[in-house]
């Protein structure tokens, strides 16, 4: 399922043997992989990529260990040919953390390293554009450090004494001297202060002197901001675009407008309290998010999920995939200018699926359905005045296949769709891998990499389905991959409905409100509709996670946006963004 101990099958030859100097196996209890010296990192990572074949750097993140005065940068690399991964770490001095940047080797690390810089203050030597990414330039402090406290800070760990067991809740505003969620450095004088400008990004994108038309005609380049409040950015997302006429010369995404501090809050929460928060990452796919988080914690706990619960999980997750892809396709058409009508068709059947979610989990969108070792509730007996199983059978045998065929019939051969999508935003397979792209974006570039097959989890090995790929890597192929994947998901759902054991446990052990998780680290990942969703969890053996990191597919996929847009027209930018299918809750977390 994930990074694994060196001894496991398919694992690399002992990395420490290859590099006797500067590489040591990580021997802390429950930890896996290797600790690499900062000086050797580039060399070791180069060998990991080129000699050992770990061509896909899934996740890069930081962990703060104030006790040993270190900040650790953790890398998870995998092979696109499948199999378990390799986890290696670099430790840096907490007072002045510097680590060589891996952007040269794995360009997909660019945004993730910027995030670590933003959150932990680790400087990455050789990074092409090391600026804050989620917070704004000028923000005081690096918020994910363990000793950094937010203005509404109450205690390090939940449950807070003020709420439990006494329950004398106060409004947090009453504690803050400003009556709001703010704090300032002691020497801050608003009258003497001028706000930081955004010149840094504009300067970086200053169009080069040559304007590319042979110098006959003097033309100016234009900088345009799209967003953060714009109807086609799918949420609060901003792009700074440099234009030559209508052609995009350069593009940089600006994000963080929906940065809701999942990770900081997640490290105060107990393990179980994080479950509903995962719903709100990719809020179009809450079930899949639950699944990834449950898997990563279950790996540490070593619980076995009962049979019926596994079936329920797969059912819910695959239905979620259909919802999410329907949404993506509908709103891609929106971006193409077919305003609203296709989207209304596309999300019609989604309502049926949401009804099932609501009847089962209690909420349409924020399902909070899975638990460590199972799921929280069984299917209801009846739904919309029907027996639930009859409803489900009708849904997956008739209605969904029909709805998918309908979309296919209306759209796939549409002249307009083809004219706007074929050959737009082309992404080559090798580049997609190098940039750690995931999901339909990767598979539409011809890379056969779907975690359900490449690194099977749950009970996917029992089902008959194909991994959908397309060769051209353009917007049209991404659309087609989504249509194909919905069909495969329907097939899986049909098999689930036919094979689901009736009755039986849905949760291992008895329901607990607080779980103690054995010490160690774990990286659990699933194939979420948007791509590879990973949770990196570190436990110290208590009830709260020491580190809770989300490797969000939308966030990493955006690294490629600029590359894909260059040379296209401004109107295509909107379409290319739509074809990546981002959800801001997950981009900014």
């Amino acid at each position: 399922m994930s990074a694994t101990a060196p001894a496991a099958a398919g694992a690399p030859a002992n990395l420490a043997e290859h590099f006797p100097e500067g590489v040591a196996a990580d021997t802390r209890k429950g930890y896996e992989g290797y600790v690499v010296g900062a000086g050797q990192l580039l060399q070791v990572a180069g060998a990991i990529r080129d000699k050992l074949g770990y061509d896909y750097l899934s996740s890069v993140t930081g962990v703060d260990y104030p006790d040993s005065n270190q900040i650790e940068v953790v890398y998870h690399a995998f092979k696109t040919s499948g199999g378990p991964g390799l986890n290696f770490k670099v430790q840096a001095d907490r007072n002045d953390p510097v680590v060589p940047s891996l952007v040269g080797l794995y360009p997909g690390a660019e945004f993730q390293e910027r995030e670590i810089f933003d959150m932990y203050g680790v400087r990455f030597d050789g990074h092409p554009d090391l600026r804050r990414i989620l917070m704004w330039d000028g923000f005081a402090g690096h918020p994910m450090r363990k000793d950094w406290k937010e203005p509404f800070f109450e205690e390090d760990l939940k449950p807070f004494g003020s709420r439990w067991p006494g329950g004398d809740v106060r409004r947090s505003e009453e504690l803050d001297p400003f009556g709001a969620n703010v704090q300032y450095p002691p020497d801050f004088d608003p009258y003497e202060w001028t706000p930081e400008t955004e010149n840094a990004i504009y300067k970086l994108m200053q169009p080069k002197a040559d304007n590319g038309n042979g110098g006959h005609l003097k033309t100016d380049k234009l900088v345009v901001n799209i967003g953060p409040q714009h109807p086609s950015t799918h949420g609060v997302f901003r792009m700074v675009v440099v234009l030559d006429g209508e052609t995009v010369v350069d593009l940089k995404p600006v994000m963080g407008y929906l940065h809701r501090n999942h990770e900081k809050i997640g490290e105060r929460n107990t393990f179980l309290q994080n479950m509903p928060y995962t719903d709100r990452l990719d809020y179009l796919a809450s079930m899949s998010n639950n699944h990834a988080y449950a898997l990563s914690v279950e790996r540490l706990m070593g619980v076995k999920v009962p049979e019926r619960a596994e079936y329920l999980r797969v059912l819910m997750v695959e239905l979620t995939r259909i919802c999410s892809h329907m949404w993506a396709i509908g709103f891609l058409l929106n971006d193409l200018g077919a305003f609203q009508t296709p989207a209304l068709y596309a999300i019609k059947e989604r309502e049926l699926i949401l009804d099932l979610f609501e009847a089962t989990a209690g909420s349409r969108m924020m399902c909070n359905y899975m638990r460590f070792g199972g799921v929280s509730r069984d299917l209801p007996a009846a739904l919309r005045d029907e027996n639930t199983m009859d409803f489900l059978r009708e849904l997956v045998v008739n209605r969904l296949p029909y709805a998918i065929d309908e979309l296919d019939r209306f759209l796939t051969h549409s002249e307009i769709l083809r004219a706007r999508c074929i050959g737009v935003g082309v992404l080559a397979g090798e580049k997609a891998i190098a940039y750690s792209a995931a999901g339909p974006l990767l598979r539409a570039s011809g890379v056969n990499y779907d975690l359900r097959r490449a690194d099977p989890y749950s009970i996917y090995d029992r089902f008959d389905f194909n991994v959908c790929t397309r060769p051209n890597g353009d917007v049209y192929d991404r659309y087609l991959v989504r249509i194909d994947e919905m069909r495969e998901s329907v097939r899986i759902c049909q098999q689930v409905v036919a094979g689901m054991p009736t009755g039986g446990e849905i949760l291992a052990g008895k329901p607990q409100y607080n779980v103690r998780v054995p010490a160690g680290e774990s990286y659990g990942r699933v194939e979420n509709p948007k791509g590879e969703l990973g949770f990196y969890v570190v436990s110290t053996g208590k009830t709260n996670p020491w580190r809770y990191h989300v490797r969000a597919p939308s966030f990493v996929n955006l690294t490629l946006l600029g590359e894909m847009c260059k040379g296209h027209k401004i109107a295509d930018v909107v379409v290319i963004l739509g074809s990546i299918d981002i959800v801001l809750g997950e981009v900014d977390r």
Binding site: F139, E154, V182, Q229, P231, Y283, M365
Partner: protein, 210 residues
């Protein structure tokens, strides 16, 4: 419609009932406003998805005359704050609000927009949009179901019904000051709090100097 508008105290002859109604200016003014509230295309987070579902076929917001979502604040009557308000985003939200012409209304949709919701303690989260712009209707839920949002919209219609031309603020002679746009500094800086910030900073610095 006629029944809804006409004043029962003033009788209209039967033969004219189909074509004549006698009503007050307030009533017809409010009736036309409440039946064509144009919201702004403005989605912040998860709640926006439910807002879109409210506008889609099943829940059909156009039953209330509100389906005309406008992409510019200049043409909008209603801002549905549908999601978590972050510090990085709040300057833009305030600016959008300032750009809306009067009469304008604000609905805080969901727990986040109303008071910070599940992310209240987050360092980048503003605990409720009402810290900056006045809110007319709060819709609870995380996210509120489409039915709940529709209920909130109906409440807003009731509020509009209760207003009178005589005392609405947009026909008063004094101009409406725009809400000061907050700035991004070491933390979010509210221009209305400059004095307080300076004072607290001095207090905090004092013991160190002493």
């Amino acid at each position: 419609m006629i029944d809804e508008l006409s004043n029962p105290d003033i009788p209209v002859p039967d033969e004219l009932k189909a074509s004549v109604t006698i009503t007050t200016l307030d009533k017809i003014y409010n009736w036309s406003r409440r039946s064509s509230i144009w919201p702004m295309v403005f989605g912040l987070a998860c709640c926006a998805i439910e807002m879109i579902c409210t506008a889609a076929s099943r829940f059909d917001i156009s039953r209330f005359g509100m389906e005309v979502f406008r992409a510019t604040p200049r043409q909008s009557d209603l801002m549905i704050v549908s999601g978590t308000v972050t510090k990085k985003m709040v300057p833009q939200i305030v600016r959008l609000y300032n750009q809306m012409p009067e009469p304008r209304y604000v609905i805080a949709m969901g727990a986040c927009a109303s008071g910070g919701g599940p992310f209240k303690e987050g360092y980048n989260v503003v605990a409720g949009i009402d810290k900056y712009v006045p809110v007319d209707v709060y819709v609870p839920g995380c996210p509120p179901t489409p039915q709940a949002l529709l209920h909130g919209l109906i409440k807003l219609q009731e509020k509009i019904d209760s207003q009178s031309l005589r005392d609405v603020r947009w026909y008063k002679s004094e101009t409406n000051e725009p809400v000061p746009v907050p700035l991004l500094g070491p933390d979010l800086v509210d221009p209305r709090q400059y004095q307080l910030i300076k004072q607290r900073a001095m207090q905090a610095a004092a013991p160190a100097e002493a």
